[in-house]
Amino acid sequence: MRLSSLFVVAALVLAPLAACDDTTKAPASGVEAPKPPSPEPGSPKADDAPADGGAEQPSSEPVPPSADPAPQPAEPPTASPVTFDHAPAGAIPAGQGPGYLDRTVWSPKMCWPLAEAGFPNSQVYGPGGGMGPPGKPSQCDSLNYTPPWHDTFCEARSRSNPLCAGAGTGHQGQDIRPASCKKNEHWAVAAEAGTITDIGTYTVTLVAKAAPHYTYRYLHMQMSTLAVKEGDQVTVGQKLGKVSNDFGGTPTTIHLHFELRAGVSGTTTDGKAVALHTFLPPYLSLAEAYQRKLDGKACGAP
């Protein structure tokens, strides 16, 4: 009696979900589609024209209006140990998204995720970006390869980011141009020791061994020269692959989209306690990691 009642209820509820089975929605047949390899490195092209107007923001999708930029504190923040030129965390120019003011160094021991220097800044609003300054059409413009750094977390985008004010959408990570405007040359390295848990068509996912098991995602990698495969256990600073402009068959600017994710406990805007897996701002963790690199400290050093 009980059994039959339960299964009747479950069957009724499950019925609408049957259409969600991947066998009915897969774009191809049941045979796994081979993943197209990235082009061989060859001679780097100085200035591939990005076809997406910047990065991670399809031109077909409008960016929701965003709140005003995150206000900076009246009192100057505690002196930063960082000596290189970088704009404050959360400081995003008006009209380019809300930003996210957060002085938490979420991953205080992480390694700078590139083997060389890099230039964290906007792929959309910088020269060569879809909404870049007029008269500066080249992504290789020296402005993009000159400090200061700029935080791009919660820059205006159409994808979800619960930490962003306004519509709850915004950039989910930090964009970093490599040391030069050349694709397939500059190595991305492991931010922490951990396991490579997923390899996509232009992405590498690393889950850290140490709690809270941060997930680091590296986007726009050159897949044909990856130095790791799924299941590999990597050490901090180990080479993963080269930074490119791959973006699902559509070239973007040459940059690493670097995400820091974790299980997060917080409160929703309507006051409900919630735990979810989501994005954290990596900017200050990157800044401290880069300073350690400048100081000659090994990856993972305090």
């Binding site: 979900l17 089975d21 929605k25 938490t104 994808r159 848990t197 709690a211 929703t268 897996h277």
Partner: protein, 216 residues
């Protein structure tokens, strides 16, 4: 609520199955508080991330064991291709989708208090993870996200869809990542919600069984 109807459907599936599990296996209604989030903690003022390491006891093992019994042999059958050593060191209940095809090529990577399972489907990858550890955001930084049954949340990522929910006191994540940006499974949340709805099979390795009082 933007996702209200679909959340209700996915949530109803989960609640029906979980509640039914306890009902059938113990003859006691197990109405676990769906808001069984990891334990709150005090945020430090140092500017370094605060870990909310939920003690092992925060897992609702009674409900999890109910889920295990309701899964019967299905969970173990779905997990037959997973690395058994990795399953055995996982100290949280592992959730698998009732989808034999997806489970047949799944790989698990575990750190004990955290696991992630990666599986392939045509043109996409699926990740399923579970953890008892979260970091705490201050109340002054509210999250702009809708939360449904079991704290179900949905986010669209650069290359897919990401769903999270809390069950048995564990934060679970279901994510799809598509090779093609235009893949409908990643453009909207129907696929990921469907996957959440059928991610109900419970598997416990040695560490989880010991923690649940079932012996190794």
């Amino acid at each position: 609520m933007r996702y209200g109807m679909r959340w209700a459907t996915a949530g109803a599936v989960a609640i029906t199955l979980v509640a039914g599990t306890a009902w059938l296996s113990t003859s006691k209604a197990q109405t676990r508080n769906a808001a069984g989030a990891p334990a709150p903690a005090t945020r430090p003022t140092t500017g370094v991330a605060a870990l909310v390491a939920a003690p092992r006891g925060r897992v609702d093992w009674q409900a999890a064991v109910g889920g295990l019994r309701q899964s019967a042999n299905l969970g173990e059958s779905l997990a037959s291709n997973l690395n058994r050593d990795q399953v055995d060191i996982t100290a949280v209940p592992i959730l698998l989708p009732r989808d034999a095809k997806l489970a047949s090529n799944a790989r698990i990577y575990s750190f004990g208090d955290y696991y992630t399972i990666t599986a392939d489907t045509a043109g996409a990858g699926v990740s399923l993870s579970g953890t008892t550890t979260t970091v705490l955001l201050p109340a002054t930084k509210p999250l702009k996200v809708d939360s449904g049954p079991e704290q179900l949340t949905l986010q669209r990522t650069v290359d897919g869809q990401l769903a999270s929910f809390v069950r048995f006191g564990v934060l679970y994540t279901v994510e799809i990542r598509c090779d093609a940006p235009s893949d409908p499974r990643c453009v909207d949340d129907n696929y990921v919600l469907g996957l959440v709805g059928k991610t109900t099979a419970v598997v416990m390795g040695k560490a989880a069984r010991q923690a649940a009082g079932l012996g190794g």
